[in-house]
């Protein structure tokens, strides 16, 4: 299965400044979103994991979108990511 991950709102700075990451899991058809997040923390994150993950989920202030809709509409952290899903992680902005 292939998953497309997009990062915005400054989160990309934690991931080598790359806004888009394509990941392939050759041996899987689906993967729990929680496992994907921990995989990202352990394999893609370049620094300071506490700015992305706290208590085994994304830290407060990050909005997660599954195929352009809020993950809360799909069960949040308990969603199972499927082949060709796009998961977007957005850090909310506060400036003005």
């Amino acid at each position: 299965m292939k998953v497309k991950i997009e990062l915005s709102g400054g989160l990309e700075l934690l991931f080598d400044k790359k806004k888009v990451h394509e990941i392939e899991f050759a041996d899987k058809n689906e993967i729990p979103l929680k496992d994907l997040i921990l995989y990202m923390r352990d394999n893609l994150l370049k620094e300071r994991s506490e700015l992305f993950v706290v208590d085994d989920t994304v830290r407060p202030g990050i909005l997660v979108l599954i195929n352009d809709a809020d993950w809360e509409l799909f069960g949040g952290i308990s969603y199972n990511v499927e082949d060709k899903d796009t998961i977007i992680f957005i850090s909310t902005l506060h400036g003005g």
């Binding site: 915005s8 709102g9 400054g10 506490e50 700015l51 706290v54 830290r59 407060p60 202030g61 909005l63 979108l65 352009d68 809709a69 809020d70 809360e72 509409l73 977007i88 957005i90 850090s91 909310t92 902005l93 506060h94 400036g95 003005g96």
Partner: protein
Amino acid sequence: MEIKYIKEHTLKPNEIERYGRQLITPDIGVSGQMSLCNASVLIVGAGGLGCPVALYLSSAGVGTLGLVDYDTVEISNLHRQIGHRESSKGISKAVSLAKTISELNSLVKINTYETTFTSDTAMEIIKDYDIVVDASDNVATRYLVNDACVLTGKPLVSGSALKWEGQVTVYNYNNGPCYRCIFPTPPPVETVTKCSDGGVLGPIVGVIGSLQALETIKILTNNKEGVLSGRLLIYDGMSAVFRTVRIRGRQSGCNVCGDKPTVTQLIDYTQFCRSDYSESAG
């Protein structure tokens, strides 16, 4: 103007002259223009976002505008805060912006509040307005503005920007979500980047502030279906890509707008967010 646009209304001839090109726009019309002229909008923040919001709402003829900002104009603001001038250096941002918009449209009544929007000042200020625009620049103020809007039942048009990016949505409108529904817990302090640290470009706040002004106009003219409630607009200026995404609705478990709220009056938001009601100057 043609006669079909001017039957049965309370607009004065100088208003017809000034707003003619606007009131012929579909879904505005004379009734929409009258709604704008009778409306009052509070803008929290007279900085990068507040400037275009105030300029476009005043020029559109919103009857009363309130401008809240404790800060004073600095030269380092002027690369993005287009409602101020060099000659306003050192004076209140609320007063400086009020001066600019009164020269653009003297028909608009403007109230300035040269104060920090806090738990002590918010309710007294907000009570006189129909809609609130969050054009602030820090986390504590964003939770404060949200809770004040929920407690007083007013729609909140929220915009934010940093570097090359911006976000816009409308909270507490038409049974939609509030800010706390989406973000129940404040972000860790160390994850929050300020404009004074990360920088921000003028056209980014220009786009986001203009979008906030338009959402305000849509709400005031009762163009309900198009309002960005339950949707979040995300803008990446570098790649010139916008995305409008669906976000969750009102949460019954929300601490302030839910069925059994635990926040029933304003709290200390600097403590809640572990940060101040102000950015450092920038």
